[in-house]
């Protein structure tokens, strides 16, 4: 085989603010790397073809599908998972609103939901319920029927806007 192509790739990145160096299989997706190599099991590997959103993590400031990015492509990237976003209290209000509004039941989709909602809320302002639904439309939930999730996101948007104005 051509030596230019590697079946293991050395990568260096930051995950949840911590520097990480690793040698990863060429075909391993980012979610499996986070879960199997780093023990960060918040992002879930579910459909593994980009449909369900359970693997959503933040890479270089934007939410992406962990199952549709290869770990070798994350060299040099800044990755945040739900663990890091929880530990830094970056989404504390959002998590509290999810609990208060019953926006999760089994919780499988919740890490992806939180990362997706964080992205929308970071744009500021109060999105309409339609805008929230549209933004979250790539994240499947099989329990809640979505209404409570939209409630939780809307609650946080209103609360944050209120604080900003005060």
């Amino acid at each position: 085989m051509n030596e230019a192509f590697r079946d293991k790739v050395d990568i260096s990145l930051t995950v949840n603010g911590e520097p990480v160096e690793a040698r990863v299989p060429a075909g391993q997706h980012l979610t499996d790397f986070l879960r199997l190599e780093l023990g960060l099991t918040g992002a879930h590997a579910s459909c593994e073809h980009g449909v369900c959103g359970a693997c959503t993590v933040q890479v270089d400031g934007a939410p992406i599908r962990g199952c549709l990015m290869l770990a070798p492509q994350a060299d040099g990237a800044e990755v945040w998972t739900v663990e890091g976003l929880s530990d830094t209290d970056a989404i504390k209000d959002l998590q509290e609103a999810f609990v208060a509004r019953n926006a999760l039941q089994c919780g499988f989709c919740t890490p992806g939901m939180l990362v997706a909602a964080k992205d929308l809320l970071s744009r500021g302002g109060i999105p309409s319920r339609q805008e929230i639904r549209e933004h979250m439309s790539g994240n499947y939930c099989r329990c809640t029927g979505y209404e409570a999730i939209v409630d939780a996101v809307e609650t946080v948007a209103r609360a944050r806007a209120g604080k900003g104005a005060a």
């Binding site: 085989m1 060429a26 980009g50 934007a62 199952c67 549709l68 290869l70 549209e134």
Partner: protein, 277 residues
């Protein structure tokens, strides 16, 4: 499922990418945003590929104004197409199409060049560039060539990109004053591939109508375009009925897709008339 990959190499520039591709013994596959390719690999629809990752080739990304046309780099991401001021002003069809493409997390990685080279017949961008009359820029180790959008799409997932070649960008004519760009589609859920979709560009020189998800490749509806040029909307709808032979699948019957195409055409024309009324 998990991908089975033959190997991975990250290209530092276009020349390096082309050399990697030519040295791959026919197993090379270009990886850009990966939003279709990695899904296909995870489902083992493709296995053993030698991946040439071009996503770091910085001069293949971004939008520039070349006077009468916009040059859009192949690695320009969907999210950038939606927000780029040059595209919004001079090729609004592309920025409007982005809202229909999958979901925010996918639009953050997917690239326009990847979408065009993948040539999914249900995707928006291939039909858009057909409606705009774009030119595709393709490069190989032995030189560069330009291909008109009309000649680029060959069949389902098949384009005129040759072995060892890479799509480097597209150029689209800048919209004239008063030009109208519309994209309409019907999908069962937000972000799903369309059951049927239609792009309409109205220029001083005439109408251009391109459809997607109605056949093995995006289709320019020439008879319908001629009818629209005469101001005959019903004639155009009838022409669409005759020009299209959409497939039936689990999502929709061919007859329903044909019906939708006509509805979308009338809807697009009504929007232009509404905007100018």
């Amino acid at each position: 499922m998990k991908a089975s990959v033959g190997g991975y190499a990250r290209a530092s520039d276009l020349r390096h990418a082309l050399e990697l591709l030519s040295g791959s013994g026919g197993l090379g596959r270009v990886l850009a945003g990966g939003q279709s390719l990695i899904a296909a690999m995870n489902m083992r629809l493709s296995a053993g590929d030698l991946l040439v990752d071009i996503s770091r080739v910085s001069d293949l990304s971004g939008v520039s104004d070349t006077g009468e046309r916009l040059l859009i780099g192949a690695l320009t991401r969907h999210v950038e197409i939606a927000g780029n001021p040059l595209i919004r002003e001079h090729a609004p069809l592309l920025s409007r199409a982005v809202q229909y493409i999958a979901h925010a997390a996918i639009r953050n990685r997917g690239t326009i060049g990847g979408a065009l080279a993948h040539a999914d017949p249900a995707a928006e961008f291939p039909a858009c560039i057909l409606a705009l009359g774009a030119t595709l820029h393709i490069e190989g180790l032995h030189g560069r060539r330009d291909v008109a959008a009309e000649d680029f799409f060959q069949d389902i997932f098949e384009t005129s990109i040759g072995e060892g070649e890479i799509l480097t960008g597209i150029s689209v004519p800048k919209a004239e004053a008063g030009e109208a760009h519309l994209i309409e589609e019907v999908a069962r859920r937000s972000g799903d591939y369309a059951l049927a979709g239609l792009c309409l560009v109205k220029r001083a020189a005439g109408h251009r109508v391109a459809l997607f998800s109605v056949g093995p490749k995006p289709l320019l509806a020439r008879t319908a375009m001629t009818a629209l040029d005469r101001g005959d909307v019903e004639g155009a709808a009838k022409a669409l009925h005759d020009e299209l032979d959409p497939p039936s699948d689990t999502q929709a019957s061919g007859a329903y897709r044909r019906h939708l195409a006509q509805v979308l055409l009338r809807r697009a024309v009504a929007r232009i008339e509404g905007a100018t009324a």
